[in-house]
């Protein structure tokens, strides 16, 4: 089961990779399980999106990074 969050979060980075973020409690990234980039619906001016599936000290999370806005979003949390 997973829960849709879709909220901006402040991220600590290690190089250009996510290392930790706070969403109520602190989530520390242990592994990057997968990473891909999506073109987005460019015809609706939707920006490009970087997706990171990460394993944290608490659970698996899906983080989104919007390079055009330099914004990180906690998109989904899996149990």
């Amino acid at each position: 089961m997973s829960k849709l969050i879709n909220q901006p979060v402040q991220l600590e980075l290690k190089g250009s990779f996510p290392a930790a973020f706070r969403f109520g409690r602190k989530f520390e990234v242990k592994y990057i399980l997968n990473h891909w980039r999506e073109g987005g619906q460019w015809w609706l001016d939707e920006p490009e999106l970087f997706v990171y599936e990460v394993s944290t000290n608490r659970c698996r999370c899906e983080l989104h990074f919007l390079p055009s806005l330099e914004q990180w979003i906690l998109y989904r949390i899996a149990d």
Binding site: W36, R37, G39, E48
Partner: protein, 1016 residues
């Protein structure tokens, strides 16, 4: 450093979104030592890529991303020419295995044609990647081993692509594992489909066009993200920081590869394959002299010298085999009674005339051979021949049989994006409805896809065009981005290449829609590969001529008198609708003004109505001098000899060459180079530089500077669109002969023209109006009397059954078979005895084919379903007659319906229905033609409004109005055009007010429009 080894150009057909030039210039900017182009199953970019890359100091690596018979992709790079040849054979085998839309290269072919090729394991569509993604490691391993077995150790690399796709990580890990297990080296690529990340939408849009989806719809072949751009070497190193050898290996591969194309070879077959070239030279010599004795009453010393000069150049260029090949195929045409006519600059050759390839006596006309062939230019000869359109494929078939199917192919052509096609395709991909697309493309004429904005601001009729709205701004940007990109490959109308070796040595071959094999190079690049193109063109005019000749055994077409007074009188009246090359409004007007009374006038006419002479203001001086109203002067005595035949006006390309030779001392070859540069000139700077060279050389020849400058200005005025005299003379020959047929055999000639449609300037209905004007009766369609084609009798033309919309060969066969047994007695009888579909029978009724039985067409249509029902119910029982009491169509509706199914009306004209409502001030075309001057009003059907280039650069629209009595040409100057542009280009029937204009007191009256209204 890094080298991109997997790059798609626009020749990946809707899967490459940046031009070759853009990709190469960026690579050059990064000082990339090499670049590979790997389009999907083709090497169409190879020649341009080779030339441009070398110009930019980049080593071109030829390659292709092929699709194997199991549907997987494989990236192949040619190490050398041998590898390139392997690639050509493989792609050919792939299309032979698949079909014209699908190349599926058999593995067996790969094993047989692996020499000189380096294989990269491929993208995520490769066999290896697919197995990894299925987590089938054993299969992945087997795939790699198969590649190693096929191409040999050291020839295979495992391709790593970091495109940041959801499965990229797994794929890269899998590839690395295979590398560690099998010790097959890695290589990094980026499967490049466009230059910059911001070009991704273009790539995505093209993918939507390719997959026929809209951007809002999903499709597995649409790109997921914008990562497949030409990443910089630094970025590629960053992406593959964990695999530095994968980056280094790109350089290793680049070093192993050499430019694979050989652009120096001559593949034209020897006429005598087992003999040296001397044998062909000797044979050509014999044939030429034999022909000369036939063509000329006596061989004078200058003629002998001319022929020897031509033969010597042909021999030095080793081109005798080409001439013999063309001679051979016209021999075939002659034996088969296939009408043909050589055209183009080949008509500058006396040898070609002696070989009976052309009908232009280049010696008597004093035509310049160097316009056709010269040692300095050392260009391959190019002979174009028009054939009766119906027999062109038969001649091509002969060529295939003569040289063998693997040594002959049709030249391909690339259908490229222009304004309308780009708007249509990209608009559809962006989700616009058909209706919206129709609005968006309305009145958008054929301009480059990056010229739409310019057009919107230029044409008055586009002033309120929807594309002005800001919401379409991005669409216009996208259209501009794909300008001139090839959309699909097709077959060139006439070009055939013949090779002494199998063609797959230089080009892959693939099937076309027509079924013939085509090359993957078009006419612009094919000759660089060592092939020579022969243009076997279809000319419907020759089909029409053949028809007339066949029906009139007493007519000797080849012996038509060249000074027939009645034919010239017709030309002088400008009454030339239907005459080859002389029927456009501009030509009709010219004929009347010029008062042509000799063949030379017709040659000049063909050359005069061209953008060059019109823009260079040559038409009026030419007419004035020809008619003796203006004195003929020459700025330099040397010009008199050259320009005397054209009254001091520079009219032909050959004259430019002669001027450069006589005035500036250029050699003929140098002069022709000058002509070529000038006809293709792009910039003022380039022209000025040529001008300096001309003037400098003229000064050394003793010509003063001022005179040299004026002479050069003559040439400049002419540059860009000049016409070759030989070509004009070849066309003029057919023009005069067709004018003769029109004058003396109008019924047969009009019928033949109607049978050869679509052709010429005017639609079939206009030809019928013209025929009626000549006193000929157009007999209606008749189910028991009409033949398949239009048929001519003494003073009438019967409409043929083929003219009916939807008519098929099988229907015609059935009709004639049954008619031979007995005439049809009713519609019911017709339905029961033939296989003609209900829709076509309905069209036959609407076209008047059954008026003989009942003139109530509406009632016949009403009864038709019953007849078909009866036919289905019982084939043998006679259905009871159906009683209908419904009135016929109203006359106007009846006429419109007939017109819609026949594209012409046997009787009457649409204006007949409007005439009673028109005020008396609206004149008929006859009345307008009779007026000498003054204001007039005329109503008519609009025919071909067009905007040719003008001397002033201002827009002038020319159109023809057709009414029930004939045609009147209308000129619409810019101020009037701006006011009425929308009506002009959207209404089929117009009411035009204006003033009569007669230039040079000619018989040809035109209306200069002052007001234009729609006639509804």
């Amino acid at each position: 450093m890094f080298v991109h080894l997997h790059v798609h150009s626009p020749y990946s057909f809707l899967d490459g979104a940046s031009s070759l030039e853009a990709l190469l210039h960026q690579a050059a900017q990064w000082e990339m030592p090499a670049l590979a182009i790997t389009d999907h199953n083709n090497v169409s970019a190879a020649v341009d890529f080779h030339k441009l890359a070398l110009d930019l100091g980049i080593k071109p690596i030829q390659g292709a991303e092929i699709t194997t018979e199991d549907g997987t992709h494989l990236t192949l790079l040619a190490e050398n020419n041998q590898g390139y040849q392997s690639l050509c054979r493989l792609i050919t085998a792939g299309f032979a295995k698949g079909d014209r839309h699908q190349c599926l290269v058999p593995w067996e072919a790969l094993q047989e044609n692996a020499r000189g090729l380096i294989a990269l394991s491929g993208c995520h569509h490769s066999g290896t990647a697919q197995a990894i993604l299925r987590r089938d490691h054993a299969r992945a391993k087997a795939e790699v081993l198969r590649l190693v077995e096929t191409f040999g150790p050291g020839q295979v690399y495992l391709e790593m692509i970091q495109s940041y796709l959801p499965f990229s990580k797994r794929l890269l890990e899998g590839i690395h594992k295979l590398h560690e297990e099998l010790r097959v080296p890695l290589v990094a690529t980026n499967n490049v489909h466009y230059l910059r990340k911001e070009d991704f939408p273009i790539h995505d849009l093209l993918a939507c066009v390719r997959t026929q989806t809209r951007v809002q719809e999903l499709h597995p072949e649409r790109p997921f993200n914008g990562e497949n751009y030409l990443a910089s070497p630094e970025e590629m190193k960053r992406r593959f920081a964990a695999f530095p050898e994968a980056v280094e290996n790109t350089l290793e591969i680049a070093q192993r590869c050499s430019p694979a194309l050989d652009l120096t070879q001559n593949l034209f077959p020897r006429y005598f394959p087992d003999e040296g070239p001397e044998k062909a030279h000797q044979f050509l010599r014999e044939l030429t002299w034999q022909g000369a004795r036939k063509r000329y009453a006596s061989i004078s010393a200058p003629l002998r010298e001319r022929i020897e000069h031509e033969l010597s150049i042909i021999e030095q260029l080793d081109a005798a085999d080409y001439f013999l090949a063309v001679w051979d195929l016209v021999q075939y045409a002659q034996k088969q009674n296939i009408r043909y006519a050589g055209r183009g600059s080949a008509a500058d050759s006396v040898v070609v005339y002696c070989l009976e390839i052309t009908n232009v006596d280049a010696f008597s006309r004093g035509l310049l051979f160097e316009r056709f062939l010269s040692l300095e230019r050392a260009q391959k000869p190019d002979i174009d021949i028009d054939f009766d359109a119906r027999c062109r494929d038969q001649v091509a078939e002969y060529v295939y049989k003569r040289y063998g199917p693997d040594q002959v192919a049709s030249v391909c052509t690339f259908h490229t994006y222009h304004a309308r096609s780009a708007l249509r395709d990209l608009g559809r991909a962006l989700g616009y409805t058909q209706e919206e697309l129709k609005r968006l493309t309305k009145n958008i004429i054929s301009v480059p896809a990056d010229g739409i904005r310019r057009l919107l601001h230029k044409l008055p009729e586009l002033k309120s065009h929807p594309l002005h709205q800001s919401k379409y701004s991005r669409l216009l940007d996208y259209c501009a981005a794909i300008n001139a990109f090839p959309r699909q490959i097709g077959t060139h109308l006439g070009g055939l290449v013949i090779s002494g070796d199998p063609l797959t040595k230089v080009t892959p071959l693939q099937p076309s829609a027509k079924g013939v094999l085509i090359t993957q190079f078009d006419k612009n690049t094919i000759e660089d590969l060592g092939l020579i193109k022969i243009d076997l063109l279809s000319l419907r005019t020759l089909s029409a001529v053949s028809d007339v000749v066949q029906q009139l055994p007493e007519l000797n077409y080849n012996q038509i008198p060249t000074d027939d007074a009645a034919t010239f009188a017709r030309l002088q009246r400008g009454d030339t609708v239907g005459v080859f090359q002389l029927e456009s409004p501009a030509q009709r007007s010219l004929q009347s003004r010029l008062q042509a009374d000799r063949f030379e006038d017709i040659v000049a006419s063909v050359a005069l109505i061209r953008p060059g002479p019109i823009k260079g203001n040559m038409v009026d001086p030419f007419i004035a001098r020809r008619r003796g109203r203006e004195e003929v002067t020459y700025i330099h005595p040397k010009l008199e000899k050259i320009l005397a035949p054209t009254y001091g006006v520079v009219l032909y390309q050959e004259q430019v060459i002669e001027i450069a030779t006589e005035i500036a001392g250029f050699t003929p070859g140098e002069a022709d180079r000058l002509r070529k540069v000038m006809t293709k000139f792009r910039s003022q700077t380039e022209m000025e530089s040529i001008g300096r060279e001309f003037i400098q050389k003229a000064l050394t020849q003793g010509v003063d500077e001022e005179t040299a400058e004026v002479i050069f200005s003559y040439i400049v005025g002419y540059a860009g669109y000049g016409f070759c005299e030989a070509h004009a003379a070849a066309f003029a020959d057919t023009a005069y002969r067709t004018a003769y047929l029109l004058e003396h055999h109008p019924a047969h000639f009009y019928a033949a023209l109607l049978n050869a449609q679509p052709m010429g300037f005017y639609p079939p209905n206009t030809l019928c109006v013209q025929a009626r004007g000549r006193g000929l009766e157009i007999l209606p369609l008749h189910i028991n009397e009409s033949a398949a084609d239009f048929t001519a009798e003494e003073n009438s033309i019967r409409i043929g059954l083929k003219q009916v919309a939807g008519m098929e060969a099988s229907f015609l066969e059935s009709i004639f078979q049954e008619r031979a047994k007995g005439k049809f007695s009713s519609v019911q009888d017709f339905v029961s005895r033939t296989n003609v579909s209900k829709d076509v029978t309905e069209n036959l009724i609407l076209g008047g084919a059954f008026d003989w039985f009942s003139s109530n067409r509406r009632a016949l249509i009403w009864e038709l379903p019953q007849y078909y029902q009866n036919k289905q119910g019982s084939l043998f029982s006679e259905a009871p007659p159906v009683k209908s009491h419904i009135p016929d169509f109203a006359p106007f509706e009846r006429w419109l319906k007939e017109y819609s199914v026949l594209r012409l009306a046997a009787q009457g004209h649409i204006l007949d229905f409007f005439r009673p409502q028109l005020p008396k001030t609206v004149l008929t075309s006859r009345a307008v033609a009779a007026r000498r001057e003054g204001p007039v009003q005329m109503a008519g059907l609009v025919i071909r409004p067009h905007r040719p280039p003008t001397r002033s650069g201002r827009t002038v629209v020319f159109l023809t109005l057709e009414d029930e009595y004939g045609l009147i040409d209308v000129t619409v100057f810019e101020d009037v055009y701006k006011k009425y542009a929308k009506v002009l280009y959207s209404e089929p029937l117009l009411l035009v007010s204006g003033n009569i204009s007669r230039r040079d007191e000619s018989e040809h009256a035109t209306i200069t429009a002052t007001r234009i209204q729609a006639l509804r």
